[in-house]
């Protein structure tokens, strides 16, 4: 399986993402610069964390105007897996690929620590390797991870099981319904504030994030590889 890691000016988790795929997961991966206009040849797209365009105007707003975003929207419309982490999640909401918005943390602090997440939905291509209700440890590092949407959108997210991860125990940023990660209705675009790519090997304190990437590959192999 071949992954693209999108890179914008100010992305800073692109190398971690690349490493997780290449060295921990053992799959093919390439960087794709924001000026590129195509994602042809890729099977999955990863939008990494960081501070694209210095968070000017709003987090993700400038990145959403990049050339690569038209290609990403087309890629998503084809049903291919798209994962946005942290700033990547913010970019996906700005792009309208996921509903809602990420606003300033309620306590105004930049929160950088490992948190507990509950896997609310393991029937997705990103979470099939987890147990339903499993509690996992994944690091967060953000100042604007407070998920917000209107009541109607929240009801729709809940009705369609689109809330994939919630914060277990302490909610670090004030996000609505303790939301840490959501998926689109079609089930192929996931956005999450916590960083699974930073939890891909026990040597860095945990490997709970690696299962997410393994889930993507497992689903892809079942669909594309003839045994």
């Amino acid at each position: 399986m071949k992954f693209a890691v999108l890179v914008f000016p100010g992305s800073n988790c692109d190398i971690d993402m690349f490493h997780a795929i290449k060295d921990e997961l053992g799959e093919e991966v390439e960087y794709v610069w924001h000026t590129a206009t195509s994602l042809d040849g890729f099977d999955g797209a990863l939008v990494p964390g960081g501070f694209s365009y210095g968070d000017y105007l709003r987090c993700g707003a400038m990145a959403n105007q990049s050339n690569i975003m038209s290609a990403l929207k087309e890629f998503a419309a084809q049903g291919k897996p798209v994962l946005g982490v942290c700033n990547g999640f913010q970019i996906l909401t700005e792009a309208g690929l996921l509903p809602g918005a990420l606003i300033r943390n309620k306590n105004l602090k930049f929160m950088c620590r490992t948190v507990q997440l509950k896997v609310e939905n393991n029937r997705t291509l990103f979470t099939n390797g987890y147990e339903e209700g499993e509690v996992i440890n994944i690091p967060i590092a953000h100042g604007e991870g407070n998920y917000y949407c209107d009541d109607e959108t929240l009801a729709s997210l809940q009705a369609n099981n689109q809330i994939v991860f919630t914060y277990e125990g302490e909610n670090p940023n004030g996000s609505l319904a303790d939301i840490a990660g959501i998926i689109n209705k079609e089930g192929n675009v996931l956005g999450m504030m916590p960083h699974p790519e930073r939890a891909a090997n026990e040597i860095v304190g945990g490997a709970d994030g690696l299962k997410l990437f393994k889930s993507i590959v497992k689903q892809w192999r079942e669909q594309h590889v003839n045994n």
């Binding site: 105007l57 105007q65 606003i103 309620k106 306590n107 004030g174």
Partner: protein, 81 residues
């Protein structure tokens, strides 16, 4: 040429922790009358004379890029520049 003054504010339903912190500071230094502070953004956009309708292009720019309508609202004024 026109100068467009755009005011972007958070919708009333959105919590503004930054505004709340500033309100607290103002009250602490003796302005107990301050009952709320909401922080927004102000943009000045200068636009060359054009055949396109200025209200249309300002609204388009606001809704495509300058604001996120999920959380923000905007108003604007057009002046001769």
């Amino acid at each position: 040429m026109k100068k467009v003054k755009i005011y972007v504010t958070l919708k009333e339903s959105i919590l503004d922790p930054q505004g709340s912190a500033v309100q607290g500071s103002l009250q602490k230094i003796g302005y107990g009358e301050v009952s709320d502070v909401r922080i927004g953004k102000y943009l000045e956009v200068t636009i060359e004379d054009t055949d396109r309708d200025i209200d249309t292009i300002v609204k388009e720019m606001c809704e495509k890029v300058l604001t996120n309508t999920v959380i923000e609202k905007y108003r604007y004024e057009v002046e001769e520049a």
